[in-house]
């Protein structure tokens, strides 16, 4: 059973993304792109070389960040 790839747990999927570039869509008009370094049971994530994109009435605001710990609370799609 556990060897069947269709029974991949969500956390196993994220585990396979460690070291790759991922795109995270947050609640609200905000997105983050960065390299996944690690995560925990709450899906708090450590991301590196991050680009944060905020969509504001004035336009897109881009912020570059070295390394962040992203709170798993507000993640919508990853």
């Amino acid at each position: 059973m556990s060897q069947n790839p269709s029974h991949l747990l969500p956390s196993e999927l994220i585990d396979r993304c460690i070291g790759s570039k991922i795109w995270v869509i947050m609640k609200g008009d905000k997105e983050l792109v960065g390299t996944l370094r690690g995560f925990d049971v709450y899906v708090n994530m450590v991301l590196e070389d991050v680009t944060e994109i905020e969509i504001t009435p004035e336009g897109r605001r881009i912020t570059k960040l070295d390394q962040i710990l992203l709170n798993g609370n507000n993640i919508a799609i990853e």
Binding site: L65, D66, I68, L70, N71
Partner: protein, 88 residues
């Protein structure tokens, strides 16, 4: 690179250990930024900071000697280096 995590991964716990006493940017869900020296934090992401500066829309609004930030408001904790640009 990694702070002692297994197989080259850096877990949130490793990250938190590595940033204690360092300058950080804490962004809240409301969009407000706090910059200062991270004193300590706990499992709820409650944060104690020193020499804290509050930025709203990139503008300095307030300074606090010490500040406690309640963890539920925290969007991310970042190491301090950052650049900004605004596009149309």
């Amino acid at each position: 690179m990694s702070g002692g995590g297994g197989a080259g991964s850096k877990t949130p716990a490793d990250f938190l250990k590595s940033i204690r006493g360092r300058p950080v940017v804490v962004k809240l869900n409301s969009g407000v930024d706090y910059r200062g020296i991270l004193a300590c934090l706990d499992g709820y992401m409650n944060i104690a900071m020193e020499q804290t500066e509050e930025y709203v829309n990139g503008q300095l609004k307030n300074k606090y000697g010490d500040a406690f930030i309640r963890g539920n408001n925290v969007l991310y904790i970042s190491t301090s280096k950052r650049t900004m640009s605004e596009g149309a």
